[in-house]
Subunit: 455 residues, 2 copies
């Protein structure tokens, strides 16, 4: 991506490709208004910003379209520049003719993300807010929408800026000490400095660690359905999806490939992953399937451990749960086939916490659905407003934390002031890269290349 040549005016189709009643074309830059005026049927130079004109666009004597033209004057526009939005008939031919005409009149085709890049460069958005615009457009559930909206509206940037400010204040304190080190003046004692740094590290670390949860809310929480063969895992998957997705049979070991399906519950996406039943098997294909189950369990956010309530005793269940190797924050023992049990599951498995009874084959899974749908709120409540959902931010936070740890261990071992200051500067730089307080072409390219053309 060739970067910001100030002085030129860009043009692109901003609404979706394809046939629609209306299409929207945007022009941004110093010549946006004069270029539009040169082909429009009415004078524009005296029109106020935020006004709409109806008229026709002509090339020589040929009318290309009758359009609505909205005018925005710098800095009161999305990009912070003069901006013209043209709402034309949604014909591919008309769109192509209009964009060609604007290019002939002095504009150039915009690169992907270039409108938002200009908004960033003109200080209308910081980097993390700009990234949230792309996330917002891609959002497909209430949770991912909520994350992106919070980030775009700056709540997240505010927290990062506060954190960065406390690091800068801290660094200033250290530099001051350095200046006076010969004179043996102590502005803050070492213990106090250490506690201050530990406090900042704690906050950075907690933001970094929220990535797992934040990313799950954005991409869908991975829910692994595991258990012994014939416990009814595939039947449960089908019941949750309300369709016959997985093949179900009485034969143990029916499922071998892992099956993954998205499913939105109460505004949050879940990625349901049905797996091969856990047992020692002599069948080679089944053994590969079981290997995959173990792999999925490690990456899971939630595990639904399904067992057949009618033929499982509590001791075996406890043993199975204890031997489960998973990184999931939530493991839910799901007691299936309650309709074939003589006892209520709570009576039989009372000693094991959180057992939920279902009869998957007849679709009785209401209690499980309620439990699942409460988990996103738990995640959000645990993390406050500071959920990190962007891989670039996660890496920057991890780098910040690493630099802070170096500084902290330096303090412990009596590291020289200059080296301490170096680690602190590193931490400040990494934290600043999230909102774009530092910039580099490489960084910008990697962010704005994700956008679609016209944004």
């Amino acid at each position: 991506m060739a970067f910001y040549q100030s002085g030129d005016t860009i043009v692109a189709l901003s609404s979706a490709q394809g046939s629609g009643a209306i299409a929207l074309i945007r022009l941004s830059g110093p010549e946006a208004i004069s270029i539009a005026e040169s082909v429009f049927s009415k004078p524009l130079s005296q029109k106020p910003g935020n006004s709409v004109q109806f008229g026709s666009i002509k090339e020589d004597q040929r009318v290309i379209d009758e359009v609505l033209l909205s005018l925005f004057r710098a800095p009161h526009s999305y990009t912070g520049e003069d901006l013209v939005e043209i709402s034309c008939h949604g014909s591919a031919y008309i769109i192509q003719e209009l964009i060609a005409l604007f290019c002939k009149s002095g504009a150039r085709q915009a690169e992907a993300g270039e409108f938002t890049l200009r908004a960033f460069l003109n200080g209308k958005l910081d980097l993390s807010e700009a990234e949230a615009v792309a996330d917002l457009i891609a959002s497909d559930s209430r949770s991912s929408h909520e994350l992106a909206m919070k980030q775009m509206r700056g709540g997240y940037s505010k927290a990062l800026k506060d954190l960065r400010q406390s690091l800068i204040d801290y660094a200033a304190l250290i530099e001051l000490e350095l200046d006076f080190s010969e004179e043996d003046v102590e502005f803050a004692n070492r213990d106090m400095l250490q506690n201050l740094l530990k406090d900042i590290l704690l906050k950075v670390g907690s933001m970094r660690d929220s990535f797992h949860a934040g990313n799950a809310l954005k991409q869908g929480i991975p829910v692994v359905i595991a258990g012994r063969p014939n416990a009814g895992k595939s039947t449960l998957l089908n019941a949750l999806l309300n369709e016959e997705r997985a093949i179900v049979s009485d034969i143990a070991g029916t499922t071998r490939d892992t099956i993954e399906e998205r499913f939105v519950l109460n505004g949050t996406s879940f990625r349901l992953i049905d797996t091969a039943g856990l047992r020692d098997s002599s069948d080679a294909v089944e053994r590969i399937g079981i290997e995959r189950t173990h792999h999925e369990l490690k990456k899971a956010g939630i595990v639904l451990y399904v067992f057949d309530g009618s033929n499982t005793d509590p001791a075996t269940l406890q043993q199975d749960l204890d031997s489960l190797e998973t990184g999931a924050a939530h493991v839910i023992p799901v007691c299936n086939k309650t309709d074939r049990m003589e006892q209520h599951p709570n009576l039989k498995f009372g000693a094991i916490a959180g057992v939920i009874g279902v009869a998957a084959a007849s679709g009785h899974i209401q209690h499980l659905l309620e439990t699942l749908s409460s988990i996103p709120d738990t995640i959000k409540a645990n993390q406050g407003n500071l959920l990190v959902s962007n891989m670039r931010h996660y890496q920057a936070l991890a780098n910040t934390a690493a630099a802070l740890e170096s500084a902290l261990s330096g303090l412990d071992s009596g590291l020289g002031g200059e080296l301490l200051a170096f680690h602190l500067r590193e931490a400040i730089r990494h934290l600043g890269s999230i909102t774009g307080t530092i910039d580099a072409d490489e960084l910008l390219g990697s962010i704005f290349g994700r956008f679609c053309i016209g944004k």
Copy 2:
């Protein structure tokens, strides 16, 4: 399609479906502004028409999106009603949430074409202009765009209204004569009446007959490539398309199925149709192919009659051209393989008009391309502004002409005044149906059902 319930406010996505930077949602009706205001972050009731506001749309406390909201006040809007356009982020989730919110707030989802229907019912467009909006959105070449644009901007309606007015004036003259018939007063002599009617019929007939050409310009002019086997028809098709579309071999009878491809030259679409070579064949499949060639020739707008210049003598060519059964307005004898000829084609075939030399295999087809690209202008010049491209209009014009012919033969045979008046009323009614001077639910449904939702 349930029709116009005045009093309700409609909402729809007006930009194309799919992911884009921006999407456009329209609200139209008496409550459009108050519904928008009830969820928007700023008051709207005092804002002037044709103004744009930036703000956020909230449901309860949750921000759904930050949007640009354009306000249009009746009657200065596309529909002639109060109209609000919301330009939001192009996420399918946000679009769905916003439309659901507007529906909760009192709007209902618009039917296909309902915005344009309201524009028609409020007198912003007549019927033929409204139909042109759909044609404009579907237009995919300069010629189809030009036809639709002329029709939308009313040039066509003006001609129809003038024609209708002269019929009404004529009918008034007849009715006047009827009133005074007992008194043997003659306001206009029969010969004059007859000449007047003949003149109107001539104009209606010429518009009706322009449908063939108008429809060809809209849908693509059918160009049939015909000729004897091995003349190089498929080679010519490939050269025109600049790709290896048809299988080419030295074996006579290679092409059996007709092959059809669209191709845009100088702003006009052509439908190129390659056919089986014309000869007596004993091969059953080839015979079916030759049958199809005859069928295509009848429907052709242009025939490219291809022959091998190196082994065809002028007399045979003249014979072949004479025996060609086609309805095409243009038959172009294309002399192929000029690179293997000793003489210049103009010398060898000088006696036959309009022969064009090509060497299709080596891509020398420039002269043919020039001839083809001049044909649309010839069509437009012949027909003036009155090209009919809509099947409904064609039928209405044909009905008008039929009624006028009945009136005319009635004049000849001394038909009674009442019957004459009946035929004239029929003619006026059919002509009026094109611009919607008469209306019927059935007629409206068939027109507006063609639109996409949101228009």
